[in-house]
């Protein structure tokens, strides 16, 4: 497993798509913060800026941008033929999948925390008033990491099924745009699905921003669901990959 993890880490570090996406997010975060600083209006408090600008916009990034990485980092292994090398390397397929999933999740996490981290850093340097609520900041960053990994596990399942990175990216973007709405519509007709929808990562990820207003049970739910999602989708993906014929 160690060899596989080292290999995937090496590939992730050398994955141009990860650094291009991260670079774009950094550039946007810096520009947006500087424009907000220089627009002449009243400056938001540092903590409010983090909560209502950085975090709220980051919701979209967490669920959409890693879809692009999934296409390049996972699915393109098929089109390049390198999946054959991996699968015939004398390693267990389940381990290959988990190594891939873990490192893809690391990539998704890097993408997902870039915006809040950079916007906070720039807004602090640029002299936004007030101080940061570190407890809230670390809680939300921690939850962003958990939800990024949970979404990554869902993305990885589809990425391992498709063999064309373009199809993967297109499908995943559509899926993440529509999944929550569709699940909501279906659960409104089929009552037994309502708890599934209400407690899905799609719904609970919206609560990251209000973590400081949630009660104990809600906090546990918001924390446990992404972990369970990661484990369940990790298992589903590994089973699919184990039985997949690699062409």
């Amino acid at each position: 497993m160690g060899n596989l993890m080292k290999t995937e880490w090496f590939k992730l570090r050398n994955d141009r798509s990860l650094w291009v996406l991260t670079g774009i997010i950094i550039a946007y975060a810096v520009l947006q913060t500087m424009m907000d600083r220089l627009d002449g209006g009243e400056l938001a408090q540092l903590n409010d800026y983090y909560q209502y600008y950085a975090l709220s916009f980051n919701e979209q990034i967490v669920s959409y941008i890693p879809c692009i990485l999934a296409g390049f980092f996972i699915t393109s292994e098929y089109s390049r033929g390198t999946m054959k090398s991996l699968a015939s390397s004398g390693n267990n397929r389940t381990r290959i999948y988990y190594a891939k999933l873990v490192m893809f999740s690391v990539g998704a996490i890097i993408i997902s925390i870039t915006m809040p981290v950079v916007m906070t850093a720039i807004s602090t340097i640029a002299g936004f008033p007030g101080s940061l609520d570190w407890s809230y900041y670390l809680q939300t960053i921690g939850l962003t990491i958990l939800y990024a990994a949970a979404f990554a596990s869902v993305m990885a399942v589809f990425s391992i099924m498709f063999t064309d990175s373009g199809k993967t990216i297109g499908f995943l973007l559509l899926f993440f745009m529509l999944a929550d709405t569709l699940l909501g519509m279906i659960s409104s007709k089929l009552a037994f699905l309502k708890p599934v929808h209400d407690n899905s990562v799609f719904q609970l990820s919206k609560k990251i921003i209000e973590i400081n207003q949630l009660g104990g049970t809600e906090v546990i739910k918001v924390t446990v669901v992404p972990v369970v999602t990661f484990l369940v989708f990790g298992m589903v993906g590994s089973l699919i990959f184990k039985h997949k014929e690699i062409k």
Binding site: K6, N14, R80, K84, G90, I246
Partner: protein, 307 residues
């Protein structure tokens, strides 16, 4: 008899109701270079995909390094190097980076093997050039370098000289020969061109429409394909004296029935027949025999076909 590296038992694979591989029984001895010949779509790649674990057999089984359990096969695959349907490369990485990714995957300690392997395939001077900018031949060499990383005992190479220029073909052929001779690496090399394998293989397997039609050694194939003049005369003993004396050749064989196989002068049979008749011998039978390699192959698979 040498131990088998790979042995299959009625290995079969069905795709969409069609047998892509039909009860293949193959045995590859340690130290041999096994030329796996068949037209495109004959089942070569399907066979290789089963052995390398990319697909599962519909029926039958195989042993790799004496292992046939699921876990045993996974472990056995650590001892093989592969090129399957073209070199598997990371296009945005350099040659050295591609090898580094595979070095990590195989858990090979130290980076010295990268330089050594690049030198072995003649890619030591590619520097920062990305694999996507390599020529087809360079990509094939890099694919071979990846397969050779970690000193595998068994190389499985699917069409390894595709895209190489004539010099490249010679270089790779000599390299494979050297690896086989000096390191006793066993090889399974698939190709649809018999002449590519002819100067390399020690054994052959001919596959057609999923069926392994024939397995034979290079010696057996050469015997079958060797050109000779079939001669039957009234006085065989006198004929051999004439061949040695007048035609100055000892490249012939007298068979039990008195016929002579003359392996020399195959391109000038007229000279032979004239010499023999001038010496008063009566030619009862006189005809060129033997098949060209390609003709042998096409006859074996049932005539010229286009796949």
């Amino acid at each position: 008899m040498k131990a088998s590296i790979l042995k299959t038992d009625h290995l079969s694979k069905k795709y969409h109701g069609k047998m892509a591989l039909d009860k293949v029984e193959m045995s590859i001895a340690k130290g041999s270079i096994y030329g796996f010949i068949g037209q495109n779509g004959a089942g070569k790649s399907t066979f290789i995909r089963l052995i390398t674990g990319l697909a599962s057999p519909t029926a039958g089984s195989f042993e790799l390094f004496g292992q046939n359990s699921e876990q045993g096969l996974i472990q056995a695959r650590k001892r093989i190097g592969t090129i399957i349907e073209g070199p598997a490369l990371y296009p945005h990485m350099t040659a050295a980076e591609n090898l580094e990714a595979h070095r990590l995957l195989k858990g090979i300690p130290g980076k010295e093997c990268i330089e050594k392997t690049l030198k072995l395939v003649g890619l030591q001077d590619t520097g920062r050039k990305k694999a996507k900018n390599f020529s087809l031949g360079m990509k094939q060499r890099l694919g071979l370098a990846i397969a050779l990383l970690g000193d595998p005992e068994f190389l499985i190479l699917d069409e390894p000289i595709n895209g190489l220029d004539p010099m490249g073909v010679i270089e790779i052929r000599e390299l494979l020969k050297k690896l086989n001779k000096e390191h006793e690496i066993t090889m399974l090399i698939s190709s649809h061109i018999l002449s590519e394998l002819h100067l390399l293989a020690t054994h052959y397997g001919i596959i057609h429409e999923g069926k392994l039609l024939e397995q034979l050694s290079a010696k057996e194939l050469n015997e079958k394909c060797q050109q000779y003049l079939h001669i039957k005369v009234d006085q065989p003993n006198k004929a051999t004296t004439v061949l040695e004396g007048q035609l100055e050749t000892s490249e012939f064989e007298v068979m039990a029935d008195g016929t002579i196989k003359l392996f020399a002068y195959t391109d000038s049979p007229g000279k032979v027949s004239k010499t023999l008749t001038d010496e008063g011998l009566i030619l009862e039978q006189f005809m060129p025999m033997g098949e060209e390699l390609e003709a042998y192959f096409t006859n074996r698979i049932g005539g010229v076909q286009h796949g």
